[in-house]
């Protein structure tokens, strides 16, 4: 990878870079369904540094959730199987761990916040019960007597008003935003190293989403947890993430620091996505509209996944998957998988 001058200083760029705590290499998770072989995750590599937020952005069905679940070895059964790859965490490959060892890692070292707070909380237990449960399974060495107090504290940490009273309420008595906060509280209850958040705000209202995103930021600042933020919304990436990986049809097609990607999108898909979202800040005359549709699950894919919808595709794109090229920002961590980048002067510019 050619290394040229670094791009503009980034307020969220940490220097020197913190250590890498999670390193995923060539992860492949296939779903062996009755109808077809779905290559949901097809050779994905990325890493996460301590205290950093990595965004994985992509459209529906691009494989974001399956990627996240695979990290914790929770790929959907019975269809899903991790067929290749390595997931390095604290010097060990998670894909080689026994199920019992994985259980000790899940929810303690790495925890997860899912999209739908409705289904992440058990409707028949009180909030307090569920948090106590989380603390007990996390074996934090907190004495039984102190538990209720700790539970109240963590609820206060996620900005739930009147936490002493809330511990005895049931999930259905809380609003969506509060439920999502409780889910967040459970996720951080064991002070994990990594939190994977799979579209945690899609079911929330705008103002509630803003509260929640601010909360995540605050928690990250105080605890230094690394966050993998899965989303389909570039706005969330712009607001929350240090680095971003753009997924399309099971592959990461572009990866880099958030400013590098926004200022110099190098893959035609990234460029098209950024230009197809209306802006709040200025009047958009006309949005770029990407022709066609994302590939259907199980569709046989050769060459570049995006070639069919790409303005710049040629025969080679349709036949051969491109190698990794340096992104156009010149930042050393910015890469993209596109044949056009072979020509160092080429820039995607959409009609």
């Amino acid at each position: 990878m050619p290394t040229t001058a670094a791009v503009q200083p980034h307020s969220r760029d940490r220097d020197p870079p913190a250590e890498v705590i999670l390193d995923v290499k060539d992860l492949r998770t296939y779903l062996f369904t009755k109808r077809a072989l779905v290559k949901a995750v097809d050779g994905v590599s990325f890493y996460l540094r301590r205290g950093e937020t990595l965004g994985i952005v992509g459209e529906s069905g691009s494989g974001k959730s399956i990627t996240a679940l695979s990290l914790l070895r929770m790929e959907p059964k019975p269809a899903g199987r991790i067929v290749a790859g390595e997931v390095w965490f604290q010097g060990e490959d998670l894909l080689r761990k026994s199920p019992a060892e994985m259980r000790r890692i899940r929810g303690r070292r790495i925890s997860m916040i899912l999209q739908d707070p409705q289904t992440s909380l058990n409707p028949v237990f009180t909030i307090g019960n569920q948090l106590t449960e989380a603390f007990t399974t996390a074996r934090q060495g907190i004495s039984r007597a102190r538990l209720p107090q700790v539970v109240v504290e963590v609820l206060r940490k996620v900005n739930i008003a009147d936490p002493e009273r809330r511990v005895s309420t049931y999930p259905h008595q809380l609003s969506g935003g509060m439920k999502q906060r409780v889910v967040g509280a459970i996720a951080i209850s064991c002070s994990p190293d990594i939190v994977i958040a799979d579209e945690p705000t899609t079911s929330l209202d705008l103002t509630i989403q803003a509260q929640y995103l601010r909360l995540i930021r605050q928690l990250q600042e105080t605890s230094g947890v690394g966050i993998i933020f899965i989303t389909h919304d570039f706005g969330i990436v712009a607001k929350m993430c240090d680095r971003v990986a753009v997924m399309y049809a099971g592959k990461i097609v572009e990866h880099g620091p958030v400013r590098a990607i926004f200022n110099h999108p190098s893959h035609p898909y990234t460029q098209a996505l950024i230009h197809s979202v209306p802006k709040l800040e200025e009047r958009t005359e006309r949005l770029y509209s990407i022709p066609g549709q994302p590939p259907a699950p199980g569709e046989a894919l050769v060459g570049c996944r995006f070639a069919k919808r790409c303005e710049f595709a040629d025969d080679r794109c349709r036949q051969e998957y491109p190698p990794v090229f340096a992104g156009r920002s010149g930042h050393q961590e910015h890469t993209a998988d596109c044949w056009r980048l072979e020509d160092p002067t080429w820039r995607p510019s959409l009609r």
Partner: protein, 336 residues
């Protein structure tokens, strides 16, 4: 407003009685889902109704679509009062107002062919010949970018974006004056969303139809609409031409919404106005200004006790907030 109104809504309210049973005690309360709102939609224009979940957007749409009856207020389409039409006028109304809903998976009957779905507004209202219907179906399908051969397929053979196109084709088939779009793109993929929004805009020109666009995404409202009304707890708190509103939002709630909206670029710095708490329940809305418990710019007791008037602060820019008292506006603009 810029053009002559196609739809006008006046002091529209819809209150739902809700009964809760606890043991043997039954209590009846009233949900003021829509509470005295007025607006007009200009001919060939788009009015965006924005607001958070539960503020009454869908209820408003259902009232206009005559799927529900208002508690009070008037809805006029041209010269007809929507809730008092019968017979032929009723049928004409049904042709003139159509809808596209949010969920493309549940809004098309899975057991009907595209042809039947698209022609339904034609078939049920007036006698038309088979040929006439067939031609119209082909015409609107072509307009939304679908192939005439698609007419014989079933909805499950289409993707979400294509389904929204079919729903739009169906809405357009009877040559309506107004189409209500209830969150028409929010369940679509990002790359499909732009196609669909562009299509909606293009067809508005081509068919000269007005849209009432219900949406929670402010950027979408800016891209699609000519005028924006911001709703909070069943009331419209601010309304203006789109560009005016986006340049200079007046109401503290609108400002907070803008601040909460996600940025288009990591370098965008916005004023941090993060509202505390949640939208209060419409069962027991706060007295005075409904926004006062969360308002960062509350000026005092007046906010808690007096309901602010919805009035023009500037030419065509209406707001309901005590920050903009009547004295500052043009003399004579005050009304009871």
């Amino acid at each position: 407003m810029a053009t002559k109104p196609s739809l006008s809504v006046e002091r529209l309210s819809r209150h739902f009685p809700v009964t809760t049973r606890r043991w043997f005690k039954t209590t009846t309360a009233v949900v003021k889902a829509v509470d005295g709102i007025s607006f007009t939609v200009g001919e060939g224009e788009t009015l965006a109704l924005v607001g958070e979940s539960g503020c009454g957007k869908t209820t408003t749409a259902r009232l206009i679509l005559a799927l529900d009856r208002p508690t009070s207020g008037v809805i006029m389409l041209g010269d007809t009062n929507v809730h008092d039409v019968t017979g032929d006028d009723y049928r004409r109304y049904r042709e003139q107002v159509q809808a596209v809903f949010q969920d493309p998976w549940s809004s098309l009957n899975p057991r009907m062919r595209v042809r039947e779905i698209v022609s339904e507004p034609l078939v049920v209202n007036r006698k038309r010949s088979r040929r006439e219907i067939g031609e119209r179906v082909a015409e609107v399908l072509a307009a939304v970018g679908l192939n005439p051969s698609h007419a014989d397929r079933f909805p499950h053979e289409f993707s979400g974006g294509q389904r929204q196109r079919i729903a739009l084709a169906s809405a357009l088939s009877s040559d309506p004056k107004l189409i209500i779009l209830d969150e028409p793109v929010s369940s679509l993929d990002v790359s499909i969303r732009a196609q669909t929004m562009n299509l909606f805009r293009d067809l508005q020109q081509q068919f000269n139809v007005s849209y009432l666009l219900i949406v929670h995404d402010l950027a979408v409202a800016r891209y699609m609409s000519d005028e924006v009304a911001v709703m909070y707890l069943g009331k419209i708190v601010e309304q203006a031409r789109t560009e005016a509103l986006f340049h200079d939002p007046l109401h503290p709630y609108t400002k907070a919404l803008f601040a909460a909206a996600l940025p288009g670029h990591p370098d965008v710095q916005r004023e941090e106005i993060i509202l505390e708490g949640e939208v209060p329940s419409p069962i027991d809305p706060p007295a005075g200004c409904p926004f006062h418990p969360r308002c960062p710019l509350k000026i005092g007791e007046i906010c808690e006790t007096v309901v602010p008037q919805f009035r023009p602060e500037r030419e065509g820019h209406w707001v309901a907030c005590h920050l903009y008292p009547e004295e500052t506006s043009a003399p004579g603009a005050a009304e009871a």
